[in-house]
């Protein structure tokens, strides 16, 4: 359903762009596509210069349906190296790229010499204008790649992260209203249990599934958490409570930073 709505809004924009291209002369649109292609598509692991072959298929001298190109550029091709560009390119950009790739259909298999293009503008950035500074800061902290210990090690939000801990987009109003930073610092989640194995290892863990032969857990002794499949016979005991505190997972954050993270979580929940 979501996809259908996107396509519905998307197509008129493309048609408009196409009409504009025709009336202004398609060469301007193609030239724009040429620049975008050189910057984003003709890179090492992907397509070759001017649509020549590289790791990805040759585009020169081949004919593609327009709708196919639009879909592939926007949504990517799952399980291949072709990423989705829908979140990075505008409709006009995609239209220009399609026009450019289609213009290569009559080109010979060998690429021409690269055109002498001036330095290009930076790529289109993700729009952050709808976010408050607090939310933006919280989001950066939540996913901060410079910290070994970060929230997304254990929580998946907006498709990024490992879903070990609860889905934060589904927190209740009561939970949201609670003194959040204290919970982040001092909370003792009940779902974290203490496992003792027969060889004497003790560690906090989240139980995923306990079967007769195999017990699947998330081992929380180190960050990032490890999904382990232990033979059930190797487990001596499972204890509750484990003594594990959420503070152990957020040691890398200062209190002010945790406040910003919480602002981001509220924003995610409210959007939902």
């Amino acid at each position: 359903m979501k996809l259908a709505i996107r396509v519905f809004f998307f197509l008129p924009a493309l048609l408009l762009a196409d009409q504009a291209g025709t009336s202004l002369g398609t060469s301007a649109v193609v030239a724009r596509g040429d620049k975008l292609f050189a910057q984003g598509c003709a890179v090492g692991y992907c397509h070759g210069s001017a649509g020549a072959a590289a790791r990805s298929p040759r585009l020169r001298g081949r004919t593609f349906e327009r709708d196919y190109l639009v879909k592939v550029i926007r949504d990517g091709i799952p399980n291949t190296a072709m990423p989705a560009w829908g979140d990075r390119l505008t409709d006009d950009d995609i239209n220009a790229l399609v026009a450019y790739i289609q213009s290569l259909a009559t080109a010979s298999g060998d690429g021409p010499a690269p055109s002498e293009t001036a330095s290009l503008a930076p790529p289109v950035a993700v729009k952050d204008s709808d976010l408050s500074p607090d939310v933006r800061q919280g989001r950066e902290l939540f996913y901060d790649p410079q910290r070994l210990q970060r929230c997304s090690n254990c929580h998946r939000v907006q498709g990024i992260g490992t879903p070990v801990g609860p889905d934060l987009a589904k927190l209740s109003r009561a939970q949201l209203a609670a003194e959040a930073v204290n919970a982040l610092k001092y909370g003792r989640p009940r779902r974290v249990q203490g496992i003792v194995t027969k060889d004497g290892d003790r560690f906090p863990a989240i139980l995923i599934e306990r079967g007769p032969s195999e017990t699947r857990i998330y081992d929380l002794k180190a960050i990032p958490p490890v999904q382990r499949n232990l033979p059930t016979t190797e487990i001596q005991s499972i204890q509750q409570p484990s003594g594990w505190r959420h503070s152990q997972a957020v040691q890398s954050y200062a209190t002010d930073e945790l406040k910003a993270v919480w602002t981001f979580i509220r924003w995610v929940t409210e959007r939902k």
């Binding site: 090492g44 690429g111 293009t117 993700v126 990032p224 499949n229």
Partner: protein, 548 residues
């Protein structure tokens, strides 16, 4: 007194010498953790190799990206990984499948750095592998049952993943990451082999307050590349892990990362217990050509001034082979593996680059070798018997146009475009050479019309094995380079051959299966290679029973 000292040094060195040769088993990615790719088996030799015949073939069923891995053999069982993180355990005598494992990838997933996998590591009955979505998994080597799995970093966020084989050293799984052509900060991680718990991380780009951080401009360290996309080596006697670090990002544009950009394009020596840096040697300060130092690190003992010395040998993508003292990191020598090199005039006596020829913004410039490298990642071999290092080299150039680019986390970050062009002498192609490690003198060279993109295997039978783009897997005499045997496997070679034995019979095994980024790149220059078929199979050869 001096003589006594010399003698004790000699004995000490001999005792510490690391035997990196393989025998019945091929237990590690590079043969042993010293990456020699040299088998001490000599049943197959120059006198009988012409009788070598296929013993069995295993088809993996997944051709995407070809077959780029190094099979491992332990006690009569072969383990081979393929694209999309599939692992097969095979009877090494018959090729019969014992178990298979298919890693479950997310349903919608794009793999920018390719679908391939280059190998696994096995120790203490556990097999470990890095995955396309940036996890490390451990399997029970007997059954293929998954034991643990840990996410290094969300692949959708970092635009990175793992294609290289891990290195196991002292019960630690040490594993690198791709991402050097993305806006990403590289690292190396160590996990506990038994539990999967994280033990240490070495950031290849120092953070604020760390030594070397001052070699990065502004925030450029956050997105500066420095991937660790191949497998390192380990010297147990020194307790040091050696890893080669890839290029800084953006590849061709350095205007917003002024400085040396440590530790990109560097060899780093790390304490295996802590991951702390012991020493580093940077080959290319402030790289603007995409010259990874990422390839294999061969740990050899070579006499220098009559004294055996622990050295390491590393071929860089820029076309130079570096020889360093691996105890101290001291530069010993560097010599070219390709003739067509114009990005520098040479390497000075201290390892410094002479006469840099950098790409410019907005204007194409001829650079040799091409981005595919004076050699690609496919590994060389060190034969202590021959005292020679065998490696491929490539003659090709490119026109690079640099362009200013601002980083966007996890997205591609190249800073330019390129197009392959012929070498000035119009003799583009590949070769395999036998080199004296200290002088770089080629004892012989085997020439080929296309780049040679498969690793090299050396054996005590005075044989050198490798394969070519057209599917020929062949043996050369290690002393002369003369071709003694060849067999066409029907698809080109991009993986790494090995040798092993079971019940006294020596086998030579090779992956066959054309593919990879560089194989794709070749189509720009050699359009007919677009028609070369992909494949993914392991071919195993042995002498006929009555001949041995």
């Amino acid at each position: 007194m001096t003589r006594l000292l010399t003698l004790s040094l000699l004995i000490g060195s001999a005792l510490l010498a690391q035997d990196g040769s393989t025998k019945e088993n091929w237990p590690e990615y590079g043969g042993q953790n010293s990456a020699w790719r040299y088998s001490a088996l000599d049943q197959v030799d120059t006198s009988n190799v012409a009788q070598l015949a296929a013993a069995w073939v295993f088809q993996t069923g997944d051709n995407d990206g070809g077959l780029q891995s190094t099979p491992l053999v332990i006690d009569g069982v072969m383990y081979v990984s393929t694209s999309h993180n599939r692992v097969f355990a095979l009877d090494a005598v018959t090729g019969k499948r014992l178990w298979s494992y298919i890693y479950e990838l997310p349903k919608t997933f794009t793999t920018f750095y390719g679908p391939w996998n280059r190998g696994v590591a096995i120790s203490e009955g556990r097999l470990v592998m890095g995955t396309l979505d940036n996890h490390v998994v451990a399997l029970d080597a007997k059954t293929g049952r998954q034991l643990w799995k840990v996410n290094v970093e969300d692949a959708n966020q970092c635009g990175c993943n793992i294609t290289a084989a891990p290195l196991i050293a002292k019960g630690k799984v040490i594993v690198g990451v791709t991402g050097g052509d993305s806006a990403h900060r590289g690292y190396l991680n160590a996990f506990d082999l038994k539990t999967g718990r994280h033990l240490w991380r070495f950031w290849t780009i120092p953070g604020p307050g760390e030594k070397g951080h001052e070699t990065w401009q502004g925030d450029s360290w956050k997105f500066g590349g420095g991937s660790t996309w191949m497998t390192g080596s380990f010297d147990a006697s020194l307790g040091l892990v050696y890893w080669a670090v890839g290029n800084p990002a953006a590849d061709f544009y350095g205007g917003n990362r002024k400085g040396d950009n440590l530790y990109t394009d560097s060899i780093v020596a790390l304490d295996v217990e802590t991951g702390k840096l012991k020493w580093h040697f940077q080959q290319v300060p402030h790289d603007v050509w995409d010259w990874d130092a990422a390839y294999e690190i061969v740990l050899a003992e070579i006499p220098i001034n009559a004294l055996p010395r622990k050295v390491l040998i590393n071929v860089s993508k820029g076309g130079y082979t570096y020889v360093l003292d691996r105890t101290t990191g001291e530069f010993i020598t560097a010599w070219p593996v390709a003739k067509n090199i114009n990005w520098i005039k040479g390497v000075g006596p201290k390892g410094e680059l002479l006469g840099r020829n950098e790409p410019v913004v907005g204007k194409p410039k001829l650079i040799c070798p091409s981005i595919g490298g004076g050699r690609s990642w496919n590994h060389g071999a060190w034969s202590p018997k021959a005292g020679l290092f065998f490696t491929t080299g490539i003659e090709w150039c490119e026109e690079v146009t640099a362009q200013a680019e601002t980083p966007s986390e996890g997205k591609t970050f190249f800073g330019g475009t390129f197009k392959l062009v012929p070498t000035p002498d119009k003799k583009s192609g590949g070769h395999l050479g036998a080199y004296e490690p200290l002088t770089g003198k080629a004892v012989w060279k085997y020439e080929y019309k296309y780049p040679l993109l498969a690793s090299v295997l050396a054996t005590a039978g005075n044989l050198i094995f490798t394969g070519d783009a057209e599917g020929d897997f062949f043996a050369l005499d290690a002393r002369s380079g003369k071709k003694l045997w060849s067999f066409n496997t029907g698809s080109g070679h991009r993986g790494s051959s090995i040798s092993y034995s079971v019940n006294g019979r020596q086998y030579i095994a090779t992956p066959s299966g054309w593919g990879s980024a560089v194989a794709g790149l070749m189509q720009q220059f050699w359009p007919e290679t677009e028609q070369f078929p992909n494949g993914s199979a392991v071919f195993v050869f042995a002498l006929p029973e009555q001949k041995r």
